[in-house]
């Protein structure tokens, strides 16, 4: 398997070159999505960044940092509100350690919505211009596998990947595939193979191309169009698709945009 990816320096070689507009708080998610839409970047809605206490303050901040430092991410624009718990400038400082192609702006200091929108577009474009990316061979592709504990296909695929010399990480869904996706993201996987639970719909993770493989459940048969591979897919077919997706082919969830980022939280909000 020879894959040409994007050289993202100390973050590694990515299979995508994504610009991330990262809202540091729920209050800036809407303006972030407007900026992202205008400049062709990706972003995500979330409800975090403020009203959090205890271990969640460091936990959510680390989680945002992991997103911004992921190998599939090129440049990052952090958009904050100004008065939130996780301050955009502090998050930016933390992110800069692992992703130097990072800037931040603050709604309360940028003239409100219109000013932030205008300045956000300019900064995002400047970031992209200032950081042209070159291609580089990806020699250490890391695949994430998400599955039900009961699904033996994950183990079988893992054996084949091992035999083919491909790195992988496995997360077994406890109650929510999104939590497993988040854990796999933290481990730096380039793409995810999801052996979707029988009662769950196909889903995805915004920064990481996610290949959904169906089961034989009635729900999955009815949603066949939204899966990348049917239940009958062989390991050879799966590995073939891994190679194509790693080389640029978009997955179904990348096209539809389905799948929200689910941040690990341990404490109630205040």
């Amino acid at each position: 398997m020879k894959i040409t990816g994007f050289d993202h320096g100390q973050r590694g070689v990515g299979i995508r070159n994504l610009q991330l507009i990262l809202p540091s708080v729920v209050c800036s998610t809407h303006i972030s999505s407007r900026i992202a839409k205008d400049v062709g970047a990706i972003t995500f809605a979330h409800q975090h960044g403020c009203g959090i206490i205890g271990n969640d303050v460091g936990g959510i901040s680390d989680f945002f940092c992991e997103l911004a430092s992921h190998p599939n991410v090129g440049t990052v624009l952090i958009v904050g509100l100004g008065c939130e718990t996780i301050q955009g400038n502090e998050l930016a400082e933390k992110v800069l350690g692992s992703n130097p192609q990072t800037k931040y702006l603050v709604i309360q200091e940028s003239g409100g919505v219109a000013g932030t929108f205008e300045s956000g577009i300019k900064q995002a474009n400047d970031l992209a211009k200032a950081n042209p990316v070159s291609n580089k061979e990806l020699i250490d592709l890391k695949v994430g596998i998400e599955s039900d504990l009961a699904d033996s296909r994950a183990e079988e695929l893992a054996k084949k990947l091992e035999a083919a010399g491909i790195n992988f990480e496995i997360e077994n869904t406890s109650k929510n595939a999104g939590i497993s996706f988040a854990k796999l993201m933290g481990k730096g996987v380039h793409l995810i193979i999801s052996f979707t639970s029988e009662s769950q719909p196909p889903s995805g993770f915004p920064l990481i191309p996610t290949i959904n493989i169906a089961s034989k459940s009635a729900l999955h048969m009815a949603l066949a169009n939204d899966f990348d591979l049917p239940a009958s897919a062989t390991n050879v077919q799966i590995i073939d698709l891994i190679e194509r997706v790693a080389s640029g082919t978009k997955t179904k969830s990348e096209i539809s945009g389905s799948g929200e980022i689910i941040a690990p939280r341990v404490v109630r909000s205040v």
């Binding site: 729920v26 209050c27 800036s28 998610t29 809407h30 809605a45 979330h46 409800q47 403020c50 009203g51 206490i53 205890g54 969640d56 509100l81 100004g82 008065c83 939130e84 718990t85 301050q87 709604i107 309360q108 003239g111 409100g112 919505v113 219109a114 000013g115 406890s174 109650k175 929510n176 595939a177 999104g178 939590i179 009662s199 769950q200 719909p201 196909p202 889903s203 995805g204 009635a218 729900l219 009815a222 949603l223 066949a224 169009n225 939204d226 539809s256 945009g257 389905s258 799948g259 929200e260 980022i261 689910i262 941040a263 690990p264 939280r265 341990v266 404490v267 109630r268 909000s269 205040v270």
Partner: protein, 393 residues
């Protein structure tokens, strides 16, 4: 305002079949699984006049299940919603949420079971078709005169500063008192923000039992935070508040409580529970702006006034949210976030009563159709309040 009485309401709205009244005719696309949120957003972006909610619930049944289903159902059944289009996988839990929304009262609804329409693409095209149909039906309905009791006002503050407690919050209190006097519902939230002032609120209870409930609600909140090993009385005011000039939690809470004016408290509401009769209430909500706003929406609140010292663009898909600035500097530097400036009280150019009356008038204007800054900006933030986090069940 002596000419105002409960007989001469200035409000116009849209009566719903269950007797509640909306001040907007929103067409809401409500996904009941996180994996369906992108499709819901695509539908609402394609159809002008429709809105959607994005959340991270994926059907899991854990300790927060009851809280989450209550909020999703209540939000979908907010009286400002003319029609709700549910996106579902047809699971028992989702059907339970829809049933619960119907029991609260929902003017019009349609269910798109994605497994019966060929998946996400089918749901998208059917959703667009249905949303367009509902939007054009909604446009044909005229407003009618409605009583003051139609108004369920939510009182909120976020990003407080040193002026919050002397300008915007007491001015909002003036407006709230007027409306409560006329027969409206007014709801103060944010348990976090009354810590240290609970005894003052309890003293204003109509019934001693309500006073005890206020004290107990705050004590319960503190116990749940202390359980996490955190002392809220040490963790507040927040850093943003300190930068805004606040020094102690008591100072912040005394200022925050002024939003509720001087009216007596009729009752205490659990998070996302509706008020059943007119009066002033206290609702147990987090201080998290959007969890509070979403809980208000799920409780059937149909207008919110949100005071801010630092400025925030946020809004709700289903509630017009009026922003009142506590200081003139912020109102001028970020004008597109703010509907009214109460900083004039500190400037000495308007009295507290004058700004209170201006907020009262703005509430009526917005109820009658005037768009807020957050509505113009398309703000539709949504958050599910969880008591137990996402990784522990």
């Amino acid at each position: 305002m002596s000419n105002l009485s409960s007989e001469t309401s200035l409000l116009t709205g849209f009566p719903r079949p269950d007797g509640r009244i909306g001040f907007r005719n929103q067409v809401l696309v409500m996904p009941l699984h996180s994996a369906l949120c992108a499709t819901a957003r695509s539908i609402s972006q394609a159809v002008s006049g429709s809105v959607s909610a994005t959340h991270d619930w994926s059907g899991e049944v854990d300790s927060d299940f009851e809280r989450i289903t209550k909020v999703l159902a209540g939000f979908a059944a907010n009286p400002n919603v003319f029609a709700t289009i549910f996106l579902t996988l047809n699971t028992d839990n989702e059907n339970q949420i829809i049933k619960r929304a119907e029991d609260i009262g929902i003017a019009n609804s349609q269910i798109i079971d994605i497994s019966k329409v060929g998946g996400l693409a089918g749901a998208l095209s059917l959703g667009i078709e249905l949303a367009q149909k509902f939007v054009s039906e909604a446009k044909k309905i005229s407003r009618v005169s409605v009583p003051w009791s139609a108004l369920h006002l939510g009182l909120e503050c976020g990003g407080s500063d040193a002026l919050s407690g002397i300008t915007a919050n007491p001015a909002l209190g003036v407006a709230s008192d007027l409306l409560v006097e006329l027969g409206a519902v007014s709801v103060l939230g944010e348990t976090t923000e009354i810590l240290g002032a609970e005894h003052l609120l309890a003293a204003r209870a109509l019934d001693p039992k309500v006073g005890e409930q206020i004290i107990e609600t705050v004590a319960r909140y503190e116990r749940s935070i202390n359980y996490e090993g955190i002392d809220m009385r040490g963790a507040q005011p927040s850093r943003g508040n300190i930068e805004g000039g606040l020094t102690t939690l008591e100072e912040k809470s005394l200022g925050a409580a002024k939003k509720a004016g001087n009216a007596p408290f009729t009752g205490v509401l659990e998070y996302a529970d509706p008020a059943k009769k007119p009066g002033l209430y206290f609702m147990d909500t987090p201080g998290h702006d959007i969890e509070q706003l979403t809980g208000f929406a799920a409780a059937g609140i149909n207008i919110v006034v949100f005071t801010s010292g630092r400025g925030t663009p946020t809004g709700s898909a289903v509630i017009p949210t009026i922003k009142v600035s506590t200081n003139t500097q912020m109102a001028t530097s970020i004008p597109d976030l703010i509907d009214l400036n109460a900083g004039t009280i500190a400037d000495g150019t308007q009295t507290l009563q004058e700004v209170g009356k201006a907020i009262f008038d703005e509430i009526i204007a917005v109820a009658n159709g005037k768009l807020t800054a957050a509505e113009k900006g398309g703000h539709q933030e949504f958050a599910l309040s969880r008591m137990y986090g996402t990784v522990i069940s």
